[in-house]
Symmetry: C2
């Protein structure tokens, strides 16, 4: 059975070891251009073919130039293969120009042992309550094709969407694929970028990711993901945004941090 | 006037474009081996020669193998040079094996414009009070040569050092170079790794960094740095550690996040 996320991130290995891919118009951000993490996911699918372990554990991506709808090429490189972990690199090119570069470590998370202590606070709830609603349901956002791919839920409408930024650059939202595809580790390396930047709540209008590092902490259970994001420091037109992603069984499955630039 | 940190991170460009360096025994961690961020700093000094902007802004490092005292070679690559930012990559080799790989974006932070909003909380104080003391003053730690290079101050002795982990994996410490060298951006990409991991406060005995990303937010003023670290999630033998570094004028100068593995 075919899900769009899988079809649209497919890569084909060529004789020279590079991979061919196609950036579709189905994963556009609010800006009307492909979401940065969509191209990253394509790069990671290629790299996964070269790694002897199944699960991405840490991914650090530098977004060098915007991606565009159309053909793309991915080149990968293995940096080190160890007993429990392997590290490699993936670069996505379009028209001969490098669009993004990521270094990533892979492992087998099913074999991870050692203690677990959750010292942070759980989100309020990891499944949407009956009172939750779709924050973007009535909002006309032409070109923002991502909205047709994902379901979002919030308990309270974001202030920025009502023209009244709350002053608190934070949010908690539920998200899932609209076509019923369950989340996996690869999709967590995509979802961190799917929410509106929380600096919209302090009056900013957009933000461009320069770098993002995602730690994949656990394979997510089927169902809704809970995304909790926060920005603490905005200095000289730059800000970080941290996100935690929790699965439907109240387990932390990913952490991301990005550095982004205001226009 | 020569400071040890500058002498011990020096790189020499070779005819083939690579750089030669020497890892000294003066920057050893508690483990008795060179601190990971010491090798990173050498890699960044080489990369800085290839970048048209003076200041590292974001650095993502993967620590592939431990470094050792002795000769090292650094290979750099430019990924993209833009109008305001440039991104490149640096790899440090010893005995033909890649020890660490980092991707980094450089800019000119003196030309950064745009708003500043500090939404996080300032540390309690950015200069040590009269009651502060050196936490490691009376502790015999042979091989831990870093202790001779840096001054540390705390207001309260860490629980782990007294054999009574506090249960709260967090700390705040002041740090500076012992020989009077003032902090700069390059040294911030070193200092994030200079404190004991805060998981010692939940009974762990050591921790190995797999990946670290450091955002350099501002050029630090002379004087003490205040480092504030916290771990929130320890799962399957892995944990993140976040650090903020503040300068002596109460400005946030760096943020780091690392993913580390328990033995």
């Amino acid at each position: 059975m075919g899900y769009l996320f899988d079809a649209d991130t497919e890569v084909t290995r060529r004789a020279d070891g590079a991979y061919d891919a196609e950036i579709s118009d189905r994963w556009h951000a609010l800006s009307g251009a492909p979401l940065g993490s969509y191209g990253l996911t394509i790069g990671l699918r290629a790299l996964a073919h070269e790694m002897p372990f199944p699960h991405p554990l840490s991914v650090s991506a530098y977004f060098l130039r915007p991606t565009q709808v159309g053909p793309a090429q991915v080149r990968t490189e293995v940096a080190r293969i160890g007993r429990r972990m392997a590290t490699g690199q993936t670069s996505l090119f379009q028209s001969g120009k490098e669009r993004l570069r990521a270094v990533a470590t892979y492992t087998n998370l099913d074999k991870a042992d050692g203690g677990t202590q959750l010292l942070g606070h759980l989100p309020r709830s990891t499944t949407p309550p009956d009172t939750a609603f779709d924050p973007l349901d009535d909002v006309p956002l032409p070109g923002f094709s991502l909205l047709d791919r994902l379901d979002f839920r919030v308990t309270e409408p974001p202030g920025w969407l009502q023209g009244k930024p709350s002053g608190d650059p934070a949010c908690q939202q539920w998200v899932r694929f609209a076509d019923g595809r369950d989340p996996d580790l690869l999709s967590l390396a995509f979802f961190w970028d799917a929410l509106a930047p929380v600096v919209l709540e302090v009056g900013e209008t957009m933000s461009t990711t320069l770098e993002a590092t995602i730690y994949l902490r656990r394979r997510p259970a089927p169902g809704w993901l809970t995304c909790r994001a926060r920005t603490r420091y905005l200095t000289g037109g730059l800000h970080e945004e941290d996100m935690e992603i929790w699965d439907s069984t109240d387990k932390l499955v990913a952490q991301s941090r990005q550095l982004a630039l205001l226009p």
